[in-house]
Symmetry: C2
Subunit: 498 residues, 2 copies
Amino acid sequence: MSTYEDLLDISQQLRNIQRSLYLLAWDERTYMPEGAVEGRSESKAELSQLYHKKLTSEKTKKIIDELNKESVQAELDEVQKAAVREMTRDFERKYKVPDELIKEMSKVSTKAQSAWEKARENSDFDLFLPHLEKHVELKKEVAEYIGYENEPYDAFVDEYEPGFTADKIESIFEPMKKDLSSMATEIFSKELEPGEDVFEGKTFSVEKQKQFCKSLAEELGYDYKHGRLDDAVHPFTMGMDDDVRITNRYNEENLKSLFSLTHETGHALYEQGLPSDWYGHPLGRRISMGYHESQSRLWENFVGRSKEFIDYIFPKLCDEFSSLQENTKEGFYKRINRVKPTFIRVEADEVTYNLHIALRFDIELGLFRDEIEPEETKTVWENKMDEYLDIVPEDPANGVLQDIHWSAGQFGYFPTYALGNLYAAQIYDTVEQELDGLREQIADGNFDELRNWLKENIHEHGRKYKAEEMTKRLTGEGLDPGYHIEHLSEKYGPIYEL
Amino acid sequence: MSTYEDLLDISQQLRNIQRSLYLLAWDERTYMPEGAVEGRSESKAELSQLYHKKLTSEKTKKIIDELNKESVQAELDEVQKAAVREMTRDFERKYKVPDELIKEMSKVSTKAQSAWEKARENSDFDLFLPHLEKHVELKKEVAEYIGYENEPYDAFVDEYEPGFTADKIESIFEPMKKDLSSMATEIFSKELEPGEDVFEGKTFSVEKQKQFCKSLAEELGYDYKHGRLDDAVHPFTMGMDDDVRITNRYNEENLKSLFSLTHETGHALYEQGLPSDWYGHPLGRRISMGYHESQSRLWENFVGRSKEFIDYIFPKLCDEFSSLQENTKEGFYKRINRVKPTFIRVEADEVTYNLHIALRFDIELGLFRDEIEPEETKTVWENKMDEYLDIVPEDPANGVLQDIHWSAGQFGYFPTYALGNLYAAQIYDTVEQELDGLREQIADGNFDELRNWLKENIHEHGRKYKAEEMTKRLTGEGLDPGYHIEHLSEKYGPIYEL
């Protein structure tokens, strides 16, 4: 067996373990009985350790060192080079950090998450603060081991959005913040509630919503032969190669489930679009978290919340939920696109969402640039909410304590949500130019051309290209937040009479 | 850390991997989408290999060698000695077999199982024969590596029923066969169909059956905080320490689901009764497959199919399934205890079940004693069916091809089903003597004393005692098939007017 084949072999073994870990995680969030927490966390820890050992073994190191020799590289083709590049990256990010530090972080995470749960329950920031401090301290150490381009925070940006740096994100977010903030301010000043009260006082059978969502995912192109749809408190998608599962939640007071469904289906179509030849291959996965989010956002917002989609779906909804028959599809369209200041990120609309992210990015950057102390985060949060959205959370449960990410030590993750929205806008702009009559197709309930375009141009390439290169290949230019702003102006101008 | 603690540590790590494997298997048989077979089988193979490597590592060997030294043994207490004994047994059964042979068996099993599926579908024994031959050949090799008391087959008996040998089983089965066969012959000669046609022409809502079964498991003492009930084509129980899951199947034409439910609940109560301090401990599991089956059979047959249980449950069934109101509980009791010759083991009643097993045991023994060639199994099967049950299957799908076990190379497993019935009868005889008014308790729907007795006397000891020792501790004597025969005579005498 050649050294390159050895690499593929290890990649396949790692993927086999990872897929098992993913199933354990999926089950934990769907069907696991409440009393099984301890055994499950031990099983997950065991498999994680086996994964880590295999990835950072001396055997892996030898293979990677060999394949990075100039003479060996000269013999590799484009795909092989990319595969070596990505495996080297995965390897180094773990190999460089001492095992002791990884173990300590894992312990801190466990404690921090349970402290965070209590803190949020009691809306008491001080309960969480010492854990936040510990996380930031350890993560600063980690950054030194991993290395970075300009500043420690880059080490974490690179984890979730390879190739990006703090600087680069800042230069994209700064103009975006101004534009979004002024758009939000203008919208809020109108004191206008567009659309009809299509949900108020009505109930929508959860069983019917489930059936509707189940068919809808299939219409969008989701393949149930290689997946399934289940309930979860926080909807998520689990991609396990030939087994890509989506989850959704339902509230009988509204039809929000339609949009969490289109969101998760977007994630799932990316996973199901990865080339099956590359299951277990170093390139057989998503480019970045931002790119993954771009696919979910594209299907949720550019398809799901579009006028054309509502044209298509509203009559079907009226058939299922007869109380909607007293409403118009225009009223429905406006209602599901209402813009409101909200404390909670996951409930935010398209206009304010990226402001919620910018706030978190500002704070993370401040923490790692030593410009903000952990103890100041609560106050900084409140001030920035005031600045961006003109509201101030009265208790930290609705403010600095709302997200799980920091308790898990996931710094650098938040910006990818905003990048996802930006990619989605820029990519959709290109797709619209390339596919004739895309809007008409959506209005007809025909999603094949759009899905195939995304599959051929993005999904099928796995992570052969990095995010920036992919964006240039797709759209001819680097990431430009202007597309997001333009999309919002075009959409919300008419809705809010801007 | 002491060497003994090292042993516990490895045991815990092994259990963590095994628990993951069990979840993968549970999911495969409940919720996995059909297109996910390949990825799942790769993940399972990976984890199995990691498990095998850890169990048979030089590190494990060193620990086990050390702990088996006389000087070290002298320092161990009773539990520690038993833990070392069991881990040594697990280790040796795997360590002694060359990796190459294990890999070959795994490959043969994969091919044999797919060939068996086709063979059964086409009812064509010749499609399966070469795989059966290969399995027997390899297993004979394996037996030489593992070692055995008197003859090669002992090596496999010991896998599932530690401490037993072919001889010992033979000496138990021989009188049992005669007694059962003559009882069956007498019953069949009566041409009597006892009981009323309580199911015929009626339908029983599957949804209602599910609800009923769900509550029933809880009444028997099954703990949903550490488990769940799902659907499966072939009901099974998966014990994962703090997470013990049961499955069941439902047919709207009858209420067989009640008895598969009590059967699986019996298995689950054993798993949920294991001491939580021993999760991951070498002793923290069932004594043997026969003992596991004794618990399922005890709850299925000695509780579930008893007069007293029907006294308790029949009025409740009538409430749920009103069409039953035209029947009597006596009629119902007799109907669910009908004895009939059947080709298929899993459909067999209490009287004929162990004859189905005896037939398989005869054939397995013949194969490994070189008294039967694989190509003769089909004919031997038919002759023995004729001898024991007076019926001859016309096609091998209903005969020699009906069970999956041989295609998976599981020789030595079948006898444990029959041993389970024998243990159950002997144990239940003791419980009845020890617990005053047990039958009245069952008629009142009170299962606590029985469950607690089983928990305290069997479940809580894990595998500290081997099967034979446990049987003596519980009942004061070795396994005696007479209890099974006596139970059947007492029960079926009145039903069949014997």
